[in-house]
Symmetry: D2
Subunit: 345 residues, 4 copies
């Protein structure tokens, strides 16, 4: 059994981690920490865990690193880069669900996050944990930077097109839509029920922090720097991200040929489902699962390809992918503990 610790276990991502890991046949949670609920029993914080998990939330991450085989960090940005250091990484593996180790370039990090990075020396060791693309590097690392929710969906949707040089890198628009759980459990006016139900809005236009992450990874695939327009929207629903991605095709190509390119990269991936022609992803079909559904359309009139990707932001966009990373790190079957059929309705 893999001994697991979760730091920041009482946010929505933390709670999803607890849910998945308690149903994982090869892992055992040895510790849960929380800043907000120290001393509280987990089932008091999340009543769905009544009679299932009564762990008392602790605070100490140091102690944890000596006992746990792997620690998941589900913390606001800027905290992980303070807590993690080389000595901790000799004791344990770290899967960080925050943003601190995702961007390779410290300058880019500090520009988008408006804050100092506290352990730039670890950035080289850190691997960007987008499993389908970085599997081999992940296996060898002790520090995994689990991708953001928007980024996972956007990169997986566009990756084959850029890898195969199919679209014009100056034409890329990603118009993304997210359920409210992506905003976390901390109270704010924008996520007060009345303020976000029965409405849709764009936010952080041309300034959302997942933008450089997408650009970094797609640029690596394209082998050239890329700048995209990324616009996130808030949708009145619990879970789910839909990314509608636009790009100008560099040449005319048939739907079937594009599909073959997607298959080249994803056919063997058990968590990526490619949609048949004229079928498109909807967030409801991936809810509660680790799937990323991808479908696309070719618009001859405008010469664009429109790719739609859908994930559950808390699973493939956070906790599920983190567990997928754990499975890779420990040599387990990649889908261990991640076989939930999407729950509809």
């Amino acid at each position: 059994m893999i001994k697991v610790g979760i730091v920041g276990a009482t946010g929505y991502v933390g709670e999803e981690l607890v849910r998945i890991l308690m149903q994982h046949p090869q892992s055992k949670i040895i510790n849960l920490t929380s800043q907000s609920y120290v001393g509280k029993s987990y089932n008091e914080i999340y009543q769905n865990f009544e009679e299932i998990c009564a762990h008392i939330c602790e605070e100490d991450i140091e102690k944890l690193s000596k006992e746990a085989d792997v620690i998941f960090l589900a913390l606001p940005h800027g905290i992980a880069s303070k807590k993690v250091n080389a000595s901790i990484l000799t004791n344990t593996k770290i899967i960080d669900l925050g943003a601190d180790f995702r961007l390779k370039n410290v300058g880019v990090y500090e520009q988008w996050y408006h804050s100092k990075h506290f352990s730039p020396e670890l950035l080289e060791e850190a691997v960007y944990g987008l499993c389908e693309i970085k599997r081999e590097q992940i296996k060898k690392s002790n520090l995994i930077a689990n991708p953001g929710c928007y980024t996972t969906c956007s990169i997986l949707s566009l990756y084959p097109l850029l890898k195969e040089n199919l679209i014009d890198e100056e034409s890329i628009v990603v118009d993304a839509k997210s359920g409210v759980s992506g905003a976390g459990r901390a109270l704010s006016l924008g996520t007060h029920y009345i303020e976000c139900t029965e409405s849709i809005k764009a936010y952080k236009i041309a300034s959302h922090r997942h933008t450089p992450e997408i650009e970094q990874e797609l640029g690596e695939a394209y082998q050239k720097e890329i700048k995209i327009s990324f616009t996130p929207h808030l949708v009145p629903m619990n879970r789910g991200i839909l990314a509608t991605c636009y790009g100008k095709l560099k040449k005319q190509i048939s739907w079937e040929d594009v599909m073959n390119i997607y298959k080249k990269y994803y056919e063997k991936e058990q968590f990526i489902r490619l949609m048949r022609k004229d079928v498109y992803p909807e967030t409801r079909w991936v809810k509660g699962s680790n799937y990323c559904d991808i479908g696309f359309s070719l618009d001859e009139r405008t010469g664009r390809i429109i790719v739609i990707g859908a994930i559950d932001n808390l699973v493939k966009g956070a906790a599920g992918q983190a567990v997928q990373n754990m499975n890779i790190l420990f040599g387990l079957e990649e889908n261990t503990g991640l076989n939930q059929i999407p729950m509809f309705p």
Copy 2:
């Protein structure tokens, strides 16, 4: 492996059955039937099953009975009582998720359902499949009448009080609230998005068909006929039933003593969770699980007890309890395949 057939697999209850049974370690679905989608692949009907289930829907129930160890019927009332007969029951076990075999009294059935019963001779064999209460009878039967969603929640909430003669039988009011999935997948104006979102209504006031079912079972516990007021309401949410139950206490009693009575009946039940004092069930905490959460309050001012019960209508109120019944019928651990932690959010 238990060979399972599902008749009526393309309604919401049918789909939940498929989801649960495909994740059940001891069952194998050998056949899915559907009236509406004959010849269609299951993942075309429910896109969440993409790459998971591509069964082609068939129509023939006769053939099924010879091959299946157990058949789940998820059909509108009036159909099962036509399809099931003694000869089928010698071939296979039937778990009927419809209403046809729930009421022991044919007259009561015909009065509330305004339709003839086509196999009254089977009513004696049929066992009302409320697992926590009828476990021993279930084991011996080949025909299980799986309880309704409202009824499961209402009966489990009130059962100990009536069994122990604690409340006045003329004082019982059950005010119940359901998510929209309870109304099924058939189109109707009342379940058109715009017509039921952002609103709440009562419906079938003093005339809902789950009323006699509740009265039958509570009356049996009380050993005296009981008439209750039951009012269902439609709530703009996907899943969940909340039953708010009122009864006048026959004598003064402390919260702890009432809790002890509930524990007497439910403490060992793995799917019933009794809430601590001042904690009450909410439907979100049982979503996707087979739990029935129960909490109560004593109102000294009025001499009433208010009991709140919550279930997921598609799981403990339908497919989950049906699988629980299957587990009992086949001598498995009762929670086999039913250990999902409630999914929140």
Copy 3:
């Protein structure tokens, strides 16, 4: 033009007051105050008022009382009873949308609100502003205690039955359901989007503060003290209250005779709509309007009457009724500025 001041203009009730009063042909808002947003422009706080209302929020209520013909107080309980005093009432009329002047008995207030009342000497002057029932007293008073949302709906639904001695006073159960706007704009975990969408819960069971208010008014109608069971529920929708009320009939009576009794009290009321037989209120049909819809069913099996009432909690349950009170106070047609047709969808 009636010169109007609003104290607490930036809560949801305050905002609804601004919306209604700006469209009222005989009123002019001269001042808006807010504790949270002093110095801010109203359209920055509520962007729907862009180009409509750019009042800067002020803080001073004293000054206000000298200029305004009427002041609406939309404040948490315990504040109005500190702010209002006899001298203010000589300058202006007060319509208090909070709880401080609703209960005639200071002891009852202090018992349910767990806090001291700061101006018990004003309670005699205060009139309970349920317009349809207290119209004549309202006309003569300078201090109107605008009823609570649950109470308005519950009292209007049951009033004729108690006034006419039709139901057993020990049998009354009011099971009420409210949209989330009733909980106000102050942040709390319970009204965080993720925590209340896709779920229903009961809360403040046997202890909600609207209980004594309902009992006071129904007791006055019945001319005898009454104790009821009142259970509020939170429903995932913006606006609306539905009250499902149960009572044992003292004698057999026909639907038509009960309707005649309701008509006796309400036929001329323009804001009460009595439903035809077999038609029941739903909150969506009153949204944005000052209507209270009432329908009922007689259950012969149990000897109960079930009355359903529906209002928009922010209009008839708060701001709309407050304006109706203003109209009465100033001798206007009672529906002035309140003729909005309910907005559906």
Copy 4:
């Protein structure tokens, strides 16, 4: 008083027309027709009209044309072009809320709508009723083609940029999001509550019929043919459209200069509200009103402008704009009967 007839009064757009016109000081509804509800009273079909409108739905449009000063047609496409003819237009004015008279080019109509056009000879007379842009032509016409909901929002958002030649016409992407009421009251699986709540999807990708409408009007402004990528999405909410529009700027320009261009076209428009810097439209802020809110951001990194527009699809996107057209046709103040403050929440 303007005598008004409404053909197709029982869809959501029809109902919104009734709601607005009954509160319009200069109009009188003389007739409502409906195919689905002939002989029914309006308040039985829409219970919000209880005690407000009891018109019996009729069927005959011919008769109507002789009595009404103006007829609103709220019909599925393909029907209006059959019903309207030159003789009717000599008797009355027609405001068609359907698609039949919007596209000037019959070939384009037949290509996108896959059906024959039955009165191409009227297309020249028909004026595209986007009030802010076609005001002068509207005044002189008897046949107004009221714009579609997506189109109104998209065109108003982009019009000044194209008129002033600011963006590259090959770079335009409109990613639009709509509430469910846009899909109408006819039952379909896609608008069944369970199937569209808690999810978001794109639909009719690269093939939605509002595309050529947007291209026609923007092309006219740009004085050159334009092809855009338009992708509609379904959002789980009642009302509202948000259009997120992307275009590559032809030259560097400051936010203030772009704002001045928008002001040049819209400053005097009472139904267009331009947002301050860093403020963006959200659909909740226009609900129930005839406003179109517009905000924009300049993304220096990519050289794009992102314009966000928001309307209430049933008001500015349908019934409200139709009444605005009526006001223009009859020489009334353009905002007569359209002054509702947006209702939030």
